[in-house]
Symmetry: C2
Subunit: 335 residues, 2 copies
C-alpha cells in the first residue's frame, strides 16, 4: 500500500524526502536544512541567516484560547527565537497571512499590534509578506532574516565531550501554561506566569547574541520542541552523547506547585513539553564558572547546568542523583 | 457593525492595517512593503532582496487540477518571478508546507521533484523551511532571498512621462489555460501551450537580470495579477498615468483561437487574468529600439510596446487605434 505521511513523520519527511534532493545544489560555505537558521555567506566576515515558521490554526493554536495580540506577538517570537539560537541579530521580518473573509478587521488590528509590539522591542522592521484569504483556518508564516559575524555563528554540531549542557531559564513553564488551556483549568495563583510564558514567550535574542561572542560556548540552539528532543539534535549533529541530571532540572515554583495540585509530571513537561523558547547550549567546563558569573551579572539570572556531553553513540541518558532511569519522552512530532 | 476583512480587501489590509504600523521601524535605505521584493542594504554596493508568497489549496489551486510536480514547480516559480521583477539573482529558497496526515508520500515526492526541477534550472538551493500538518487544505509558503547591485535595483516608482510600457512575452496565455481548467474543457490543439503557461510558468529571472543592467529601463515589476492591475501599481508609485494601446496587445494565436471558439474576451484575459509571470517595464523611448534589438538577439523574442507613460493623476487609459474606451477590469483581488 502507498505510504502515508503519518508513517514517516516530520523528521522522516525532512531527512528522507526533502533534504537529499537539494544537497547537490548547496554552494560552498552554505548551511542549509539542519540548524535553527540557514547560514549564507555574504561578505568576507559576515553571514546572512534566515529562518521561517508556519503556524496553522487548530494545529498550533486555538483562536478561542489565545488573544489576537498574543498570537501576533508569538508568531514573531518563535521565529526570533531561531535567530537567537544562532546568536544573530534580526534585520527584517516577512509575514504571510491567510485570513477567512468574515474575520473582523479589529481582530487583525490587534494581531498586528502584538506583532508590532515585539518588532519594536527588538527593533526589527516588517519588510514584506503576503496576504490572502482561506476557506477556514487562519494560516501564519513568518520568515526572518538576520546577520552576524561568520566567526560567531553557533551551530548544533559543535558540542564536545566534557561540555556542560546548560540553559538560561526555567524549563516547562510554557507547557504548564498549555495544560491550563487544554484542560480548561481556572486561573489560580500559579497560572499567570505559566500562561504568560506560553502565550507571549520572549525570544532570547540579546542572550543569544551575548553567548555567540563567547568562544567557550560550543553548540547552541533554541528550545522549541523541549530539551529532550532538541538536545537530541545537538548530539546527533555533533556525533556525541549526553547525560541529563534530572535533579538539576530548573523549574519554577509555580510549575512545581501546579504540577502537585493537578498531578502533572513536571519533569515530563520540562523535557518534552516544548515551546519554552529559551536557549540550549554546551560550554567548555573549565570556562563555565566565569561565563555563568558574567551572564548572571549581565542578565540578572543564572546559566544552569542540566547535563554533560559524553562520548558515545548519539543519544540521551537520563540520570537522577547519578542513577540511570528511563527518561521522559523524546519530545513531540507535529505528525 | 464591526468591519469585516471582505469590506477592506487585500490592498486595504496592507495599506490601512499593516504597513502604517511599521513605517517608523524602517531603517535608512530600506524598502519594505510596496515593491516585488524588500530591499535591504548589506555592503556598500550590494543589497539583499527578499520575497514571499503564500498558496492555499482551494484558493490558489485545486489538487485535482494540477499535478504534484506542477504545483511544486509553480510554488517556486511565482516567487522567483518577484526576484525577476527587481532584476536580482536568487540565492536561497525557504519552503514551509502543511500537509494533511493522510497525504501519500509519493505525492509529496513528486511535489519536491517539481520544486527541485526549477531549483536546478535556476541553480538556487532550498536552504530551509518548516513542515507541519494541517486539518484539511494544503498550505505552501515560499520565501526567496536574492542579491544584486544597489545601482541595478529596478523599482515600481521610477516610471517617467514619455516612457514606453513594454512586456517581453504574450499576455493572457495563463488565464486562458485557467479557463480550460475551470470550465472543464477538453484538451484541443490550442490548450497545450495555454495550460503549460498556467501550470508551470517559467520565471523571467535571466531576462530581469539583463534588463536590470540597462539604465534606460526605468521601472520594472513582474506581472502576477494582470497588466491592468500591475501597471496601476507602477503609475501609483511613480505618480504618473499611462495609456494602453489595445490593438498592440501581444497575444498568442492559441489564445486568440481558443477565445474565438469559446467566446472568451481575449483582451480581458490578457489585461485582467493574472498569473502570466512575465515582466512589465517602462523604457526611455529614445533608447527603446536599440534595447529591443539587443533583447531580441539575446533572448530570441521581441520586447513589445503596449502603451506609454503620460503625465496626470495616477490611472490607466485604454485606447483602441487612438480612441479611448472603457477598459477591461483592473485585475482581481484575492478577497
Amino acid at each position: 500500500m502507498a505510504k502515508k505521511l503519518s508513517e514517516i513523520g516530520e523528521f522522516g519527511l525532512i531527512d528522507e524526502v526533502i533534504a537529499p534532493r537539494f544537497k547537490d545544489l548547496l554552494g560552498e560555505d552554505i548551511t542549509g536544512i539542519g540548524d535553527d537558521c540557514a547560514v549564507m555567506p555574504f561578505t568576507d566576515d559576515e553571514v546572512q541567516i534566515v529562518t521561517t515558521d508556519l503556524l496553522i490554526e487548530e494545529i498550533h493554536f486555538l483562536r478561542a484560547k489565545i488573544s489576537a495580540f498574543q498570537l501576533g506577538f508569538k508568531a514573531l517570537a518563535v521565529n526570533l527565537s531561531d535567530i537567537a539560537g544562532m546568536g544573530g541579530t534580526p534585520t527584517g521580518t516577512f509575514l504571510s497571512v491567510a485570513f477567512p473573509k468574515n474575520l473582523g478587521v479589529a481582530w487583525i488590528e490587534k494581531f498586528m499590534e502584538g506583532y508590532r509590539s515585539l518588532s519594536e522591542k527588538e527593533n526589527v522592521p516588517l519588510l514584506g509578506g503576503d496576504t490572502t484569504n482561506t476557506p477556514d483556518n487562519i494560516v501564519i508564516n513568518v520568515a526572518v532574516t538576520g546577520r552576524m559575524k561568520k566567526s560567531e555563528v553557533k551551530r548544533r554540531s559543535h558540542a564536545r565531550p566534557g561540555d556542560y549542557v546548560a540553559v538560561p531559564d526555567n524549563l516547562g513553564d510554557s507547557p504548564g501554561g498549555l495544560q491550563y488551556i487544554l484542560d480548561g483549568l481556572p486561573e489560580d495563583k500559579f497560572s499567570e506566569s505559566l500562561l504568560k510564558q506560553h502565550l507571549t514567550p520572549y525570544p532570547k535574542v540579546s542572550e543569544g547574541r551575548w553567548l555567540a561572542k563567547k568562544e567557550q560556548v560550543h553548540a547552541m540552539m533554541d528550545v522549541s520542541d523541549g530539551v529532550g528532543s532538541d538536545l537530541h539534535h545537538i548530539v546527533k549533529a555533533s556525533n556525541v552523547a549526553a547525560e541529563l541530571y534530572l535533579e538539576k532540572t530548573p523549574m519554577s515554583d509555580n510549575l512545581r506547585e501546579a504540577s502537585k495540585k493537578y498531578g502533572w509530571n513536571a519533569e515530563e513537561l520540562a523535557y518534552s513539553g516544548g515551546e519554552d523558547y529559551t536557549l540550549l547550549l554546551t560550554v567548555d567546563p573549565e570556562a563555565f564558572e566565569k561565563l555563568a558569573g558574567d551572564f548572571s551579572k549581565t542578565f540578572g539570572r543564572p546559566l544552569q547546568v542540566i547535563g554533560k556531553i559524553i562520548e558515545g553513540e548519539p543519544g540521551l541518558k537520563y540520570l537522577r542523583n547519578g542513577k540511570p532511569l528511563d527518561g521522559p519522552g523524546k519530545g513531540f512530532s507535529h505528525f
